[in-house]
Amino acid sequence: MADTLDLCQITPTEIGIDIAGQAIEGGRSMSGVTQAINYSGGGYVVVNYGGINLVDRAQHLYWNSLAGILNGGVTRMFVPLWTDKLLDPTKDYTTNSAVAAAAAVFATTISITPPAAYDPEPGLWFSINHGGTVDHRAYRVVTAVDAGASWTLTIRPPLRAAITTADTCRFHRPLCSMRLAAGQSLPWSWTAPGAWGAGELPLVEHF
């Protein structure tokens, strides 16, 4: 079981969350229009937490222990996605939504039942704990249709594993199984006299 990253200890000030995938283009045509083909299979989640200011001793300690886990770029962690900006401040997202119907691996249409407190709006992120070796995976809501008892969502990227009605969707700080981006490390440095340190945490979805 992987550790969960403690976002409140590292408090990033620059946050980037994206789904990376690539299209390749053919040669340039006479009209200047090119065709693009995408082989990426829907892409994968990329998170970049930058501008991390380490102020007190606990934060410096946490950064070092984090570097010990993540350096090398193989060990995964469950990383909370700091999507608070997307959440409606008047609503309570801490209750998870329930999966309303089973869906196969790689599906992009799922059916969920949210609690009365909030609606699963397009643009929100959520995560599902698939268990096994897949564990927590994050998805982005593309469209959401209220179907009475449940909501029908289309999501990206496609489901990493099959889901059943026993699963839940976490909208508040969704978790994703991630590791450090290739070739990156977390050097610990600080500057006297303020003893502030700054760091960057580039993460990619773990497979």
Partner: protein, 201 residues
Amino acid sequence: MGYVPDAVITRLRGSGNWGIYFQLLTVPRLRLWSGPSNINQTMPGIDTTGPELYRGVRLNEEQLGQFDIMLNGGAERGTFTLEGVSQDSIDKISGIDPEVKGARVYLGLASHGDDWQPLSDIIRFQSGRADFWSMEQPVSGGEGAATRTLKLAVALGETGRSRPRRVAYTNPQQQLIYPGDTFCQDVTRYHRGYICTWPRF
């Protein structure tokens, strides 16, 4: 409808999402595709019991090679490489030394819709025979990252390492395209350059 479904031909004319699928008929079979996560798909004629799980290998742009379509039995040899293999996997593979020689290799693609769902079964466009596998890890200096690579050498068409293979067109392939046609059923009896005597009745 032809070998390639009409809906897929329409997609081929423009930009779109595609999946590249690979199957190696060892025991157990190795099924891979170009995406990041797993998918259930069917390779018609090969996956005879319905959809099977294809594992995502996250094909990157540099790895995307090119294949010539087999013409009159003439084709080239191919090498499939898998980069970024973990030391753990290498140890496991070296220990059991999988028997790949002679195993059939199939390569196909399928068009995926805008929602990434496959629009058809896998359309096979290349088949071959596996010859041998190898692995390498070039030493990298300075800040370069070392990458372990697993390679599978494959004979496509009638090419072979020691001597030419005899058969380029196969009856199963013909049956896939034209069910019931008997044109290729005796093809295993001939090799390339064989002069067939026209029968006299």
